[in-house]
Amino acid sequence: MPSKVEGWKDDVYGMEVRDHLYRFAEEGWSAIPEDEHDAWFERFKWWGLYHQRKGQESYFMMRIGTPNGRMSPEQLRVIGEIADEYARGPVDNPEFGGAYCDWTTRQSVQLHWIQLQDVPEIFDTLEAHDLSTMQACGDSWRNIVGSPVAGRDAKEHIDAWPVIKNLNDTFKGDEEHANLPRKWKVAVTGDTRGSGQAEINDLGFEPATKEIDGEEVAGFNVVVGGGLSRKEPRFARDIDVFVTEQEVPDVAGGLSTLFRDHGDRDDRFNARIKFLVDEWGPQKLRRVLQEDYVDFELRSAGEDLRDQYTYNSGRNDETGDYVGVHEQKDGDYFVGLSVLVGRMGAEDVIELADLAEEYGSEMVGLTQRQNIIVADIAEEDLDDFLDEDLLEYYSPDPHPFLRGSIACTGTEFCSLSIVETKNRMVRYGRWLKDNVALPDGIDDFHVHLSGCTASCAQPQIADISLRGMKTRKDGEPVEAFDIGLGGGLGENPQFADWVEMRVAADEVPGYIRNLLEIYDERSEDDESFREFIARHDEDDLNGLAEPEETSYDDPYMGNTKMTWYPYAEETDMDAAPTPSPADD
């Protein structure tokens, strides 16, 4: 029997939700019938609106999908201006102020505190600049990810931007693919860095070559059924298919339709295609795809390029994360700037857009490591650009503890999260930078902090994996983390081993310090941190370092989820100023 959500989707879903959104925006929050809240909030997701957590009723997170994370400087400015005007809540965030943009791990933009009454104006402004929230959330094609500097990056196998643009234009808004059993995340990697992180997507295209009619052809291998959520992490499975650029839409569409027809609509916890691949196996998936969903003979897989991957790979010889100054194919440069936990103040966003335009950039790009790239800086302008004041904070040469930090939204806004995340990761990063000696050989050190098992910060593929948890300290419940080690992608992708469980949040920085001291003492030759961890088995890793209280001070140890907003003066749920009176 189809789930309740499927019933709501059967009644109204997809494009038509927009008319209802506009009606509610016109009539006000109270026009949404109280006994239809859940159904409408589920439907609004298709248009990129996600109702914020308990205590924040009537406020929404708005997600803007930017394929490949690419924008023009003008588009970036528009997003900054929208954040400045509309994404302001009743209380400022103590680290980030009153208006900010979040760059996500899937190269999208998230704004918070959006009210329904403002949605039509925001949509008008976005669409006038070729931006959209369509299908940014909900059960369909999500933002397509890949290298933002496709077509510019020297480390490239195929320019994947036309491929991604074509997929985006073909499948976004296509009714046949608008109502899938669950989300559908697609990655296309055209570079040799592996920056699309196709391994953790529902559908991935990985760079490959194949000899066809005596000629070596560049294309992609197809992988299906990756994902990290709910303690059920899977790397996407190789279905033994090679496609050319031209064949990508047919195979992507075939697989999306296969998922639409065969995915589980009865149980949302079993709905992602990773579970169908578990059930069928890659061979059956390939067979059904061939027999029922494509009308040409599928080729077997080609030679992959995984041994060249550097993105989130834990290698010591090269860091493929785009941060820093990189020469483009055309002789210009792109500059990757570190954005700690992916959150940037609205004024800074506007200033960066102005700078990018001033320096003649035609493209800014968001990366899956929550950073931002400014492309097309001429060689003669490079020094001036690097001297700009804004780049002191959003640095192209950040300290490794700041460079490698990723955090999800957390209890600030999210219903699922168990702990506070972004502000805490900022504090962790700063404390580590000020208090922990960086061992020789570490230029890049990834700490991924996720508030829960949904794994939006991709915790399983980091040097230090942090997953929100609770423990008791002196009998009182406090926020905590499970700590994992040794995860990463690259040539041999590996999920972290969870080695220290329920570590109080204020003892995590001490644990990292102690672990790095051990690495410094015991690592061999040029061994990277990931290689050092991989040399130990799980038993050795358990207890390798001790959690410890230090001078690090954590203001969020109590139950931040019990508050209406963790940084308010009066945090009790009863003090919540919601629903917003302005919305009626």
Binding site: M1, S3, K4, V5, E34, D35, E36, H37, D38, E42, R53, K54, S229, R230, K231, D266, D267, R268, F269, T411, S415, L416, S417, I418, V419, C452, T453, A454, M469, K470, T471, R472, P477, A480, M501, R502, N559, K561
Partner: protein, 113 residues
């Protein structure tokens, strides 16, 4: 009126009549349970897996783990609250950090979400 109950947003919360009534991330004390070997499980709720009704109680099975011993899994059925006035839709939720006794299901639950 009919009482509407379900979990939403990947099991983040229990909805009763379209109001978010019980969240994940609370600690629940479980007694006389099979969840782990602890006499009292100090259970962290990470996701509502199944919601059912045993009139007038709303019940649920919750995924999570005991923060005392680390055992993780899904609980047996726990009473999450009670609809005290079906006509008005009034729901009284249980207090998570009081003591709860999970029970094996006596009859079929509503289909999972």
């Amino acid at each position: 009126m009919t009482t509407s109950v379900h979990q939403l947003d990947d099991g983040a919360w229990l909805s009763v009549n379209d109001a978010r009534r019980i969240n994940v991330s609370d600690l629940w004390w479980l007694a006389r349970h099979d969840f782990c070997d602890c006499e009292m499980a100090d259970f962290l709720a990470e996701g509502f897996v199944e919601i059912g009704v045993d009139h007038p109680n709303i019940e649920g099975r919750i995924a999570g783990q005991c923060i005392e011993c680390g055992e993780s899994g899904v609980t047996d059925w726990l009473t999450l609250g009670r609809v005290v006035d079906p006509d008005a839709g009034t729901f009284l939720g249980v207090v998570p950090d009081s003591v709860h006794v999970p029970e094996r299901r006596r009859r079929l639950a509503s289909p999972s979400e």
